[in-house]
Subunit: 355 residues, 5 copies
């Protein structure tokens, strides 16, 4: 189960800009890759130390530096110095319990958001914080270092030089990264949608307390998803409004597209939430229905056998003068009498539609 | 049951503008019809290949090209090239899991919305995505290719030349198409309204778990309807505001009318939702009432026969010295005693209004 | 029960402005009355044909034409031609399933809203659609033709020439008509308020499933009332803002008053809705309480008599060697023993406050 | 219990500005007091007829006329004539079913709001409508005439000449009156807060249907309180914005303070509402828990004694050949057997934590 | 348990600006510390009387006076006179039942907010009202005087002269104090988050009425937390907007960071609230499930033994002519018959999945 709140508290009382890594260390080694490209040129390199990437900074080509793992404070500090990042930005990159947000620092724009993976083995969502920094001719991206890099697809596209990406600026690269992340949300939503559809069937055929537990867990997932995705709407809308000179007008149309995807994700989450609420109601009333049917069985049995047992008890009394006991046909008559009581009770319940 | 979310995920990671058809192929053959008209002229033609429609583009008359079936990517690409559509628009037309929206690309306006049919045999709603493109003197419309074309009525009206339609521009044609689609929503709402009224009666006379299931399914339908219709409000409001030169002021008054219809649809959906919530409450309390009445039966039976059985048991004991057993009138007295206990219990329950 | 949605669907696919009457024909004959007045002059006339009213149009005095019954399409068409009404306005007047709204057509303002009557015999609300058209020196009003004309009071006031009405313009007449309609809402609210207060008492003393049914029906009424009244707020606010030259500033102060009444109506509806929700909760928990008290009775009876019956059963066994059976005081001792068990059980339940 | 809606309906259909008193007559005699003051001068007088106060009008000192009882229409009419009040204002003062509101008539501002008292004997809230009119150098206040005048404190402060009040204008007097009224809301809230805290304890120790009734009544009180206080926010915000020349800038800072108090009252009401909702949930689940514990007792008793009674019944059968009956130790063995069944059942229930 | 509402009522009716301490006296002695610093200079002093701090006022260095304990009215009055505070500000500082708010008085800004501590021994939240006044070159802070001063960390940072704090203005000091307080909220949230996670596990394994009580108390805490934190959003947003000359642009970026933290706190509170709601649903349905399983046990027992007891009763009847009783194998046959009934019942329940 995902932790509700990370150990952010250990930062309490420290001066702003103090660099402390918050969250689990997801890999031991951090991995830095640099891609340098423009319409004609393409260079890709895995860096051993962060210093190697500094020469890229002043070249006119677009430089994309991806840092996989944010727990090495020194590396980040050097990078921050080189690219002139505000200490608060570095602090936010290290603190992996950030809210999705965008911040315009003039020379660069800082975006932080959540990447979501669906772990098939544990059927759980895994969260990774992604920080993006968009400068004039560079893009920095920071991942927490979870296995499997979805940015590979983007790197591949740059490598091939197909499509628009090599012809456009750093803002288009950031758009591409955002688009990749949001496309991934659809995969999560599909998985959850399948779960919900499966549950809907189970709810009709065989609802168990386990069903409720799954509904409850899905609701929880929805709360987290919503918390992650909701502010994305504003993030992209801020970029699209084009107030920053870092975002060109030609990219605006693509950002509008990705904004539209975000709204679609949010809509779908809301739909799922409402459906889960509806399922809870159905589950609760199915419990009540079950109780009713149990009580009906009990009541039918009791209503038939209690009177019969009483009559048997009456003729089991030891009074001296009980004329019926002496009758030759007494026993079969009583049996017949009892039998007819039982039958008439059954007919009564059939009529009441209890059976 | 409608799928909650379409296989959009297969697009994840592809560059923007990549054309992939998402959704079921609803017909094998796509059908293209072109209508060319102005106040005096009228021409209608079913096209074999998309190329045939290109000459229409530069004529001053209004050209309406309707494409029924969106799974042939090539056809769309050619059409897009001819009319200068942005790759993102083509991508959205192909992706039949779009949110209702409007996008102004300067030279043309792109509108995507949902057409809803009510399948009488399966008593289910069927969704079809409609894309409309409004240019200076042309309208392109794209359907998914479900049987039954509601645009026939519009075509008929153009053919007859009655009414305003031949005298007005391409924007009026788009208005007419929108109006036709939204009018269809009222048919769906009427069907659902009838179902709800039927359920309200059933809820009073004979609520069963099946009733709950229908309420639940209707709630689900409402969630989907709402999701489809809600953004329409903004779509039409954007058109009406008349910021685009493509929408003339004279059409504004008609758009206001269709906007009003949209609000009416949304209002009705909200009303239905609230009524369904109310019905769930009634259903739940009717289950509880049923349980109470079952328990009353059980309690009445037990309360009458348990004491009686006890007394019968007492006189069935085998003690040597039980003087009552020897009495001549012992048996009838005990019977009378038991009878009076039973009667007094019944009177007690009558008083408590349990019977 | 009021129909949820009127047969609007039959209009689907027809060109805009097509005149079709939607709704029940409430009277067979339509009734047209014309009132012509200014500060000194007063003329009143019942018209046989609509043509008779045309001369009034160009006179400087204020003309009020009231049409009672909207199913004669021809009459409306002629009236529309004479006063220059847009076909969409005529369409809306005929369609009695309109949402409350205001539309400014420049030369005239079109207002449509709902009049509500409370039918005392069937204890149901009856809805009538009222359309008002405010021109420079004329007011047209359209009713569906339900028996009982609330506009009589207004006509009387004009006749008498008392108060402000004869001295002011057509906008003041429209204000007066709106005020009359909204004052009527208070009558409905009072009736419903009395019902709710009656129910609150009944809920405490004797809640039955019928109580729930009434709560449910009241909730339904509230949904409809709210749907009718809510948009009125905007209608009057639009008029009051005084953007149209048809509404004079002196009338503004009166419109503010009627706006205030509308808010008051909406507030009261919300209060009623919240109270009804609260009552449902009380009802549900009173059902549960009842179940608890039923179960207590059953449990008390079972807990007392089950052990007793067992002991009676033990001494009814036929073992050869059961020494107790031979004791002389065996029977009374056992009776005493049973009696003391019963009493101690009762004391136990008293302590547990079950009795 | 407070009436949900006052007999406002009797006004329906009358021309606007018709003066009719709505509400109960709270006192027989109306009481008029006039206070005339500036920084140096102070004069106080109880008036017999309203005419006596007219000379005050044109003096430069600030005149405060308080009318206690609003059912004498004539008095109000005269006052209205003298101070130039609009007929709609007089109508609103008479109609004691007003919504809290502010209306700027240019020469004067009209404020109407609710004073709330807590009746200790009946533990009910009592409402009194207060109308305030702020003119250039006069303040008119109207009360319904409930015993106990909270404005006495203000009068006392003017008399003493302490503090700011004598140095400032009529707007400050209105502020002081508003502040006094809103301070009174805190008293109500404290009373209700105490009730809620008491209920919270009772809910844990001993929830009864009476507890539910009190929760329900408190919820009802909250609905009314909220309805009264919510619009106050806007009233004071309108005054504070300082658009009227009648409110001076120096008073603005005090109005901001009273605005803050209003927000505080609203916040507290919302908090109480949420707490009451939570308490309802706890109550409902405590009923269910009680039912569970009742059913456990029944089930334990039945599960122990039903098998035992059966075994006693078996050995009470009258078959000729039942070898066990002949055994010498048969009886004690059976007793032991029964005893061990009973004990093992008890152990089972202990394990299941039912006991 | 925290009091719902403090004894604010005792202020009712007093003139504005009357200084009365509301709330418990948290310490007997008030403690005043003054810190005077700029980039080079640092001076710290514990003051005996408030008068000692007056010389600081006119120095150019930044002066921070912290008053721990607000129940000495005289001290506050003197301080207020010296720094020119409005009487309403002093009144608000004394009244410890303030809503979180910001007020701009031109020469200084007044901020009041709540500090939250988590009392580990009583597992309760403790609230302390903090008032901050930001002037040109001074900051006044007021605490209620709870043990443990979180401002020590800030004082330490000033002492050390590390970081930015000594180089920046009074506004940065206020930012630092706000940041410290909000960082503390994260500690509270972590504690509550741990409780919630613990409860989630318990809810699955062993839900008891005590679990419900804890859920209820947590919900209550959330209501209070939300009430305290929600208005902080606006407070910081007002400061950040930079309309006051007292807040410099360079501090804006830090305020944006603290604003972000506030949003994060609010988001987390909302998440917790939703999770607690979900847990209540799970709890309620787990009670119902328990009831169902209890009823199943009862029904199984009753359904098996009632028929058996009846058959035993039949053969316990004392009729003269009951041929079965004479049969030699009668007894074992009946036993076998009973046994087979019992077994078939058990099979039936197994099939129905009741066991």
């Amino acid at each position: 189960m995902q932790r509700l709140i990370k150990k952010r508290a250990k930062k309490a009382g420290l001066p702003p800009g103090t660099l402390i890594h918050i969250g689990e260390k997801k890999t031991d080694e951090i991995k830095i890759t640099a891609v340098d490209y423009d319409e004609t040129l393409f260079q890709e390199k895995e860096l051993k130390t962060i210093v190697e990437c500094f020469p890229y900074k002043d070249k006119p080509a677009i430089t994309w530096i991806n840092v996989d793992g944010v727990h090495q404070i020194e590396t980040l500090e050097k990078l921050g110095d080189c690219f002139g990042l505000h200490p608060l930005v570095l602090e936010d990159i290290l603190n992996t319990d950030q809210r999705t947000k965008i911040e315009d620092y003039g020379d660069y724009i800082y975006i932080v958001l959540k990447m979501l993976y669906y772990n098939n083995s544990s059927t759980e969502m895994v969260t990774e914080q992604i920080s993006l920094i968009l400068g004039q001719n560079f893009v920095l991206s920071f991942q927490e270092g979870i296995k499997g890099d979805i940015f590979n697809q983007v790197r591949e596209r740059i490598r091939n030089g197909k499509g628009r990406i090599r012809k456009m600026g750093a803002d288009y690269l950031v758009y591409t990264l955002l688009d990749t992340i949001i496309d991934n949300y659809f995969i999560i939503l599909e998985k959850l949608g399948e779960k919900i559809e499966f549950l809907e069937d189970e709810l009709v055929t065989n609802p168990t307390p386990a069903t409720l537990q799954i509904i409850h867990n899905l609701k929880r997932d929805m709360i987290f998803l919503r918390k992650s995705v909701w502010p994305l709407r504003e993030v992209i809308s801020v970029m699209e409004r084009g107030e920053s000179p870092l975002v060109q007008e030609t990219t605006g149309i693509f950002l509008r597209d990705v904004y539209d995807h975000t709204i679609h994700v949010i809509d779908t989450i809301e739909t799922f939430r409402e459906m889960l609420s509806g399922m809870l109601d159905v589950y609760l009333s199915s419990i009540s229905n079950k109780l009713n049917s149990i009580m009906k069985v009990l009541t039918i049995i009791a209503t038939i056998f209690m009177p019969l047992t009483f009559f048997a008890g009456v003729y089991g009394m030891n009074f001296k003068y009980m004329p019926e006991l002496e009758w030759h046909w007494g026993y079969p008559i009583v049996l017949l009498f009892m039998f007819s009581i039982g039958i008439s009770m059954l007919i009564y319940f059939k009529k009441k539609k209890w059976m």
